[in-house]
């Protein structure tokens, strides 16, 4: 609900109202996400104080980048009432094609151009999604299931299936480039990579688009009710093309960062992780039916999933339990959001 207005106006409204937890949760459902995140961190920290080491936190930050970029794209589409399951295929397509292109044909290409081309390539594939959704008038779930197979099939049939183990040097260097580096107590070198910066920047840009531009308002308007929005003069075509293009661009960017960070390009990677990304966005308070949610909530949702995935091992919970925990959190949060809705 809350991101459907500008967030500073929202703050003002909250002050003038009588304060209650129930009201807060209804207006800002990501409060629940934050509570769950803090709760799980406290529990893990009590069970194993090693969790609070800088190295763990940096691991979490590093692991959030790719999923966070995906989630921002999914959030924008969800806010407009659509859904996308093809973004992992777009990421796999652009990352692998770019790696092959740089390695075999243009070895000297500067990394910034590589990243830019991957992003634009992703945007292009996303725009295909947007045009199909708009002109076929088919639900976006069906269209993107189709294009997920299409993009991935094209990648594996025509571009290659070989696992590239040694990256072009500029890509590997980008993956290792440090933002912050220090030595831990046991003498190991801990690095927060430079590419981590991409996530806060992308989050800020997404927030700005959604809250400060007419496009952002149009996205929420379409998510609220597409027929009414179109009657009021919002162009559905522009919104569809923009939101899928934007999500595609973020997916392309995420793909290339995934390659650089892992220092290898596996064409079979990424596809299959869509559901956990969508889960993160929904855990962040965005309703699957559209028109609601915040960027902050989305990032909190991603952190929650990443923390569950990476730290449960620290307290001796087998990794196979991650799914149980994620699943019960989703049900818990969803049930909470729904009862809040009914009580209003």
């Amino acid at each position: 609900m809350s991101a459907s207005r500008t967030e500073d106006l929202d703050g003002a409204a909250a002050r003038t109202r009588s304060f209650s937890l129930g009201d807060l949760v209804r207006r800002r459902p990501e409060t629940i996400t934050l509570v769950l995140l803090v709760a799980i961190c406290v529990m893990v920290a009590i069970a194993n104080p090693a969790f609070l080491q800088p190295s763990t936190l940096i691991d979490i930050g590093r692991a959030s980048v790719v999923m966070g970029l995906f989630a921002l794209g999914v959030f924008v589409i969800l806010a407009a009432g659509g859904i996308d399951v093809s973004f992992t295929a777009i990421a796999a397509f652009t990352m692998y094609s770019m790696t092959v292109l740089v390695q075999n044909h243009l070895p000297g290409m500067p990394i910034i151009i590589v990243i830019l081309m991957a992003t634009l390539g992703g945007a292009g594939l996303g725009i295909i999604n947007g045009l199909l959704v708009h002109h076929l008038k088919v639900p976006s779930l069906i269209v993107t299931i189709g294009t997920q197979y299409l993009f991935r099939g094209f990648l594996l049939s025509f571009i290659g299936t070989v696992w590239i183990m040694s990256l072009p040097p500029q890509m590997g260097a980008f993956g290792r480039m440090p933002l912050v580096q220090f030595e831990s107590a046991n003498g190991a070198l801990i690095t927060l990579p430079f590419y981590f910066l991409v996530l806060p920047v992308a989050a800020a840009v997404t927030w700005w688009i959604l809250n400060r531009t007419l496009m952002g308002r149009a996205i929420f308007a379409v998510g609220g009710n597409a027929d009414i929005a179109s009657r009021l003069g919002y162009s559905l075509r522009t919104v569809h093309v923009f939101m899928f293009g934007y999500a595609g661009a973020l997916a392309g960017l995420a793909g290339i960062i995934h390659v650089c960070a892992n220092r290898q390009a596996n064409p079979f990677d990424l596809v299959g992780t869509e559901i956990s990304v969508i889960a993160a966005v929904v855990l962040g308070g965005a309703r699957i039916t559209g028109g609601t949610g915040t960027v902050l909530g989305t990032i909190l949702g991603v952190l929650l999933i990443v923390v569950i995935n990476s730290v449960l091992v620290l307290v001796g919970i087998p990794s196979t339990w991650q799914r149980l925990v994620v699943g019960s959190f989703i049900l818990l949060a969803a049930a909470f959001f729904v009862t809040r809705q009914r009580k209003k």
Binding site: R5, A13, R17, A221, G233, G291
Partner: protein, 517 residues
């Protein structure tokens, strides 16, 4: 009044429709509409449901393109308008559904469109939050709503319906509107809010804005004054100052049909009572009591928001009643769900047969036996198809379906035949009471005749029938008695043989504005 008419002649023409035709598939919705709207005037577009009123306003607001004809707007001629063109020209519409975005704030709903229109619909623009707030405050003040921050930032879905209506009106006057179209603006307003609305309209007219009302509430039209424009069957049948027409004349112009159509009802109700409804209340229905004898046909009518639909659904257990008792043959019964209603012998043919009743891709046979599948099946759950086919064939014959092929999917049938399948299905459980909700909506004339004959045959056999409909001739031709509902209550009961369409129409309309929520 004469001075006003004089002024109308002199004020500038704002919008002109010339010979507008509109086809929806095979339906000729508008048959050559000519209409001139002048600045500073008020117009009341009157007509029955489906006469083309909504289509005309959608053409003005750019939601529909006419099939042929011209729209002259500010001296320029168009064959059709886009929503942005229409908005830029200053045409603002308050739709019946209000067209508010439920997830946005009051301020955004009221004032965001100004910026969208200024940007000519292009979205790659920053939006000006300060201007949003200023415009919203001005418009809300003009509509008599609060302008504090808390209200500006309230999510529209959190507002009560009456406030939403005023927010929609505030949006229409937020920009430099030249024509404000209001589609049934007063349906959910209380008396006090209607007075407020009338003040808003007077202010708009004094600022040389044209106002076009689409409404059923004639009393309000007279209070506001201006021009009456009467539509019937996609044609404009009368135009002129509203005070020159009486209510009766307007009602006759709207209905237009010759009232001397033949009556299907020839039988008489049995002496034995069947149904007693005592002080029934449900969402939208308040304190309704009536009784029904065996073999009697009771018509219930009223405007769309009168509670007639809710009453039908309460009787059938679709939307159960919250208070009151229902007695069938002397026994108090509870109908909390459709299944319970069926068990008590109450059948219900819903208004929207496609969404609520039929399985379109399934065969006639499967649709007809849907209610008795469990009775037809043996203890292993296997359905006795032969017995089922015999029953389905008998029902199809009784309902005079135009096909003998029971395996034809229902979706392939005409609307009239689909309705017959649906009624036939209910006959399979031989109900004591059948509630028919809009039994001939979207049905051709021939099928109407068949359905009416079936209805009469059922009553002759002792079944009690309740027909809920806004098709007044239908009730006059078929029912024994007609109840008229208004604002959740029964406001009139008439003998169908004596009553006229005008009387019914008047009963439906009067008191509508006098009600206090």
């Amino acid at each position: 009044m004469a001075a006003q008419a004089d002024q109308a002649r002199h004020s500038k023409v704002f919008l002109e429709l010339r010979n507008i035709q509109k086809w929806f598939g095979g339906v000729h919705a508008l048959r050559g509409i000519d209409l001139t709207l002048r600045s500073g005037e008020a117009y009341h577009l009157l007509g029955e449901n489906g006469c083309g009123k909504s289509t005309v306003i959608k053409i003005m607001s750019g939601a529909h393109a006419p099939t042929s004809g011209e729209i002259v707007l500010g001296g320029e001629t168009f064959t059709s308008l886009t929503p942005i063109q229409s908005l830029r020209a200053g045409i603002e519409t308050v739709y019946q559904d209000l067209s508010l975005l439920p997830n946005l704030t009051v301020a955004e709903n009221v004032a965001l469109n100004e910026q969208l229109v200024d940007a000519n619909g292009r979205l790659a623009r920053l939006f000006d939050r300060k201007r949003l707030k200023e415009t919203a405050q001005k418009a809300l003040a003009a509509a008599g709503l609060p302008t504090d921050r808390a209200f500006l930032n309230t999510i529209v879905s959190d507002l009560p319906l009456a406030s939403r209506q005023l927010v929609a009106i505030a949006r229409a006057i937020a920009t430099r509107a030249k024509l404000v179209i209001m589609d049934e603006p007063t349906t959910s307003l209380t008396r006090r809010e209607v007075d407020n609305l009338i003040r808003v309209v007077e202010r708009l007219r004094s600022e040389n804005v044209a106002v076009l009302f689409v409404t059923h509430k004639l009393d309000e039209c007279y209070r506001i004054g201006g021009h009456a424009v009467v539509f019937r069957d996609g044609q404009c049948v009368a135009q002129g100052p509203i005070e020159t027409y009486t209510k009766k004349e307007l009602a006759e112009l709207m209905t237009g049909r010759s009232i001397d159509a033949q009556r299907y009802r020839t039988g008489k109700p049995f002496d034995a009572g069947l149904l007693e409804v005592d002080h029934l209340a449900a969402d939208g229905v308040r304190d309704v009591s009536f009784s029904l004898k065996k073999g009697e046909i009771l018509g219930i009518t009223g405007l769309a928001d009168s509670g007639r639909n809710e009453l039908a659904m309460a009787l059938a257990g679709v939307a159960p009643a919250s208070e009151g008792t229902v007695t069938m043959e002397g026994q108090a019964v509870s109908v909390r769900s459709p299944a319970e209603a069926i068990a008590r012998g109450i059948g219900y043919v819903p208004e929207d047969r496609l969404a609520e009743g039929l399985f379109l891709d399934k065969s006639i046979f499967e649709n007809e036996i849907a209610l008795i599948a469990s009775r037809l099946s043996n203890r292993f759950g296997v359905v006795d198809r032969d017995e089922g086919r015999r029953i389905a064939a008998r029902l199809s014959e009784e309902m005079r379906l135009n096909t003998r092929d029971l395996d034809l999917p229902v979706g392939a049938l005409s609307g009239g035949n689909q309705q017959r399948v649906l009624i036939g299905r209910w006959l399979s459980i031989t109900p004591k009471l059948l509630v028919l909700h809009g039994p001939t909506v979207g049905v051709d004339v021939g099928s109407k005749d068949t359905i009416y004959r079936v209805i009469q045959a059922l009553a002759e056999g002792g079944m009690g029938l309740v027909i809920v409909s806004d098709d007044l001739p239908e009730l006059l031709q078929n029912a024994d008695r007609i109840l008229v509902m208004n604002n959740g209550r029964v406001v009139a009961e008439m003998d169908a043989e004596q009553a006229t369409e005008d009387q019914l129409y008047k009963a439906m309309l009067t008191a509508a504005t006098e009600s206090v929520q």
